[in-house]
Symmetry: C2
């Protein structure tokens, strides 16, 4: 049986993680032509193009299983080394500090902005990990799992990605907020449910703040209120702090995670447009099927932080 | 002289703004094959491929001047219509509410998370704009200006992009923060400047929180302290709220915009590692050279909000 070269696999992982042959060469402390030669040799062994030479570089469909394999080998190797050498002492001045285990995970923007860092902080320091966090829409996080770029992720996708286990985390609750003046201007009669015809007219013309073009949660909420699709004016604001600030400033209404909404409601900066009516978005934790202490500890930390923060 | 078809140009703008032929068709309320035919017809007129059929669709080099032209024509047309029809009354139930003027701008994550929304909120409601905000690294925002995707942006690039005017906005100041326990653990002797050899050793092994692989501000700060490049362990956390939360939770130290840093220093959640020593990142406003009331008003609002928030 053919053998895959570990150095070539590690180089593949570095090219995709760093985004370019040049950056991978820097990280691996080798020349760029060495990186090229290793990738070409690996591609010759497999008989397929493995890396799309885009900016940033991505794994091709053929490259995805090899990228996942490379990440898994690296993780297992680091863990074995850490175990063999004993726990990281944490002494800053120790010469030859161990190379940290890279933990690449993806989460949606609202999880990152609210509860996810709590989970990361629960990992004991002696695990000596380096977090490589990606942010992506919760409907699209599964792509990074599938192509092997990340080992785990918070996703809205409940069907397990190939090679992954999936566990429910609970639901993120969103409340429909607007600044008091904006609410009075656009919804003078309030937004009772089921929405009367006047409310549907108001929802059709009131500006709504949407994270980006992949964020459909506001449009689905409108449909749940009035029973059909509307095409209101939209402000796209792809930043969690800017999103809620845009609502506080009266640019439009929008759905805000309850963790952020509560502060705005308590301070009077916003009002709840539909008291008692909310949107629950179920989230799942998907992770590689791998017997890894780091992945197990991370999974425990994520599930416990999610249990505190989600519904 | 050949003429460019306005409907085809508008279709080009929709394809790039929405990211796909399918989404453009939905926005324009036409069939997807109509979108394809218009783009092909425009490409035949120009004799060049104008749209890279990627996900999302982007303008090719040849398509960039046409995309910018399309955006400029749309903006001018909307402004003329708004002026002809009189100011937007704001009555939510008015039939045939005017189509809003799309204002596509890019800003770096830290500006979006701190002062930029203040500028947007200063635009009078009767301008009836729809904001289409993009977030990108301040060193890369110029790309979206160059390819015509946005009409203006907050950028670190001081050289005017072709067809744009550039104005200085002031500098965003960053302070080096860490949680008190992390500071005591990694920098028991503090971080005086110039850094003694022990501090350089500490900086080489203390984990640092970095936004993403394009964020070099922490590494440049280290070089300014110790006079050479170091390769410390890095946590990548590409979310402004998660970035400062990771520092508060002790995952590493990092450079935080002063607007966010002040709250963490006041609450005692963080300490300033290098009191009196900071990083100032000069920011610029680049916008299309175009006689447009909307762009003029936006520029005034951005300059005034920046004058309040930046150095």
């Amino acid at each position: 049986m053919e053998r895959l070269d570990a150095t070539q696999l590690r180089t593949l992982a570095a090219v995709v993680a760093e985004g370019s042959f040049e950056a991978a060469a820097q990280t691996l402390h080798v020349s760029q032509s060495a990186v090229s030669q290793r990738i070409q040799a690996l591609e010759a062994t497999v008989g397929q193009v493995l890396v799309r030479r885009s900016r940033p570089c991505r794994a091709t469909t053929a490259g995805q299983p090899l990228l996942r394999l490379a990440g898994q080998l690296l993780l297992l190797e680091r863990e074995a080394l850490t175990e063999a050498r004993g726990p990281l002492t944490g002494t800053p001045h120790a010469p030859g500090a161990p190379v940290r285990t890279r933990v690449a995970v993806v989460a949606n923007a609202d999880s990152l902005a609210t509860w996810f860092v709590t989970a990361l902080a629960r990992l004991p320091a002696e695990l000596a990990v380096s977090f490589d966090i990606r942010q992506d829409d919760q409907e699209h996080t599964a792509e990074l799992l599938r192509d092997g770029s990340v080992m785990a992720g918070v996703t809205a996708q409940r069907v397990a990605v190939q090679g992954c286990r999936v566990r429910p985390l609970g639901a993120m609750r969103y409340l429909a907020l607007a600044a008091p003046a904006a609410a009075a201007h656009w919804f003078p009669d309030g937004l009772t449910v089921p929405a009367p015809p006047a409310a549907a007219l108001a929802l059709a013309v009131a500006p709504v703040v949407v994270f980006d073009r992949r964020d459909r949660v506001q449009h689905r909420f409108i449909r749940s209120l009035v029973g059909r699709d509307l095409d209101p004016p939209v402000h796209y604001v792809p930043s969690v702090p800017a999103f809620s600030e845009a609502i506080r400033r009266g640019l439009g209404w929008g759905l805000v995670p309850e963790q952020i909404a509560h502060a705005d409601l308590a301070s009077g900066a916003c009002v709840d447009l539909t008291p008692g009516r909310y949107v629950d978005v179920p989230l799942y934790w998907q992770h590689w099927r791998l017997d890894s202490p780091v992945l197990d500890t991370l999974t425990d930390a994520v599930r416990s932080a999610a249990a505190d923060a989600l519904r």
